[in-house]
Symmetry: C2
């Protein structure tokens, strides 16, 4: 079980858009070049973010994307679910109903509550999502500013600004 590569791309793109001046837009072309990923395919991830209302796009030359909300109002979970979907990682297919010992009444009775196994798996899924929800884009920017060499951080900011 592995998240799509688009999740990684989307998170990196959001971290870049988070550094954009308020009125600027950054085009897919620039984001693709910055991360070394195919523009056409990255475009699909950005469209997913746009459909989820996390970023807004504008057409025409000098068009592109910007964040639709403050960085403190966008969480990792928002981005992950925009790309990956919000369906649980565990799907209960109800195989307990195939128990040859079970009568029709048993099945109807069991169906009133979710399977004990599913409950545990869904609880773990919730723990994962809760963890993702606890980190905002603003937190990420703080981490990046601490991690990335100051010189590279500055040059990248200028590179983005020149294309915004």
């Amino acid at each position: 079980m592995q998240l799509k590569s688009q999740v990684e791309w989307a998170l990196h793109c959001c971290s870049i858009l988070a550094g954009l001046p308020p009125e600027g837009y950054l085009a897919t072309r620039a984001l693709a070049e910055l991360h070394g990923v195919p523009k056409e395919y990255l475009s699909k991830a950005l469209q997913a973010l746009s459909n989820a209302g996390l970023i807004t796009g504008t057409l025409g030359p000098s068009g592109g994307y910007r964040l639709a909300r403050p960085t403190s109002d966008i969480t990792f979970l928002d981005v992950v679910e925009a790309v990956e979907g919000s369906a649980s990682t565990f799907v209960c297919t109800g195989i307990r109903d195939n128990n040859p010992c079970a009568t029709r009444a048993d099945i109807d009775d069991c169906d009133r509550g979710p399977c004990a196994i599913a409950r545990v798996m869904w609880q773990a899924d919730k723990a994962w999502r809760d963890s993702l929800r606890s980190v905002r884009l603003s937190d990420l920017r703080d981490s990046l500013e601490r991690d990335i060499p100051a010189d590279l951080w500055r040059r990248t900011g200028e590179w983005v600004l020149a294309r915004a």
Copy 2:
């Protein structure tokens, strides 16, 4: 991102094996019939559990599987990782190294520590695994005994016992 169906099968099979008498073995055929899943394919999941040391198999007629450890010593995480693998759900491909602004020195410098985005994603992955690790097979048996109608619980126990 979705867990394999074999994870669900493996968990249900373990819950059944947990009710086996100490010296009994239950064959793949019986487990497949009980859950209404293809025997040949379920066999792969059971082999994975066996390779992980969670269950032990024995050959010949009256052969089959039993738990290799006490139910209090097997967690959901053990079962999930046996089938699904223990690799993180998030893979950092290091696309930040493709930054055209980065020099060779920048890349070497960054490579000393993991990406800030990866850290967050791995922390969420850990929260998921911690949650799975906190529930044992013995807990699951307790939940099932509470959830499943007493009559069905008894009949299923007898069905298994007759084949162990």
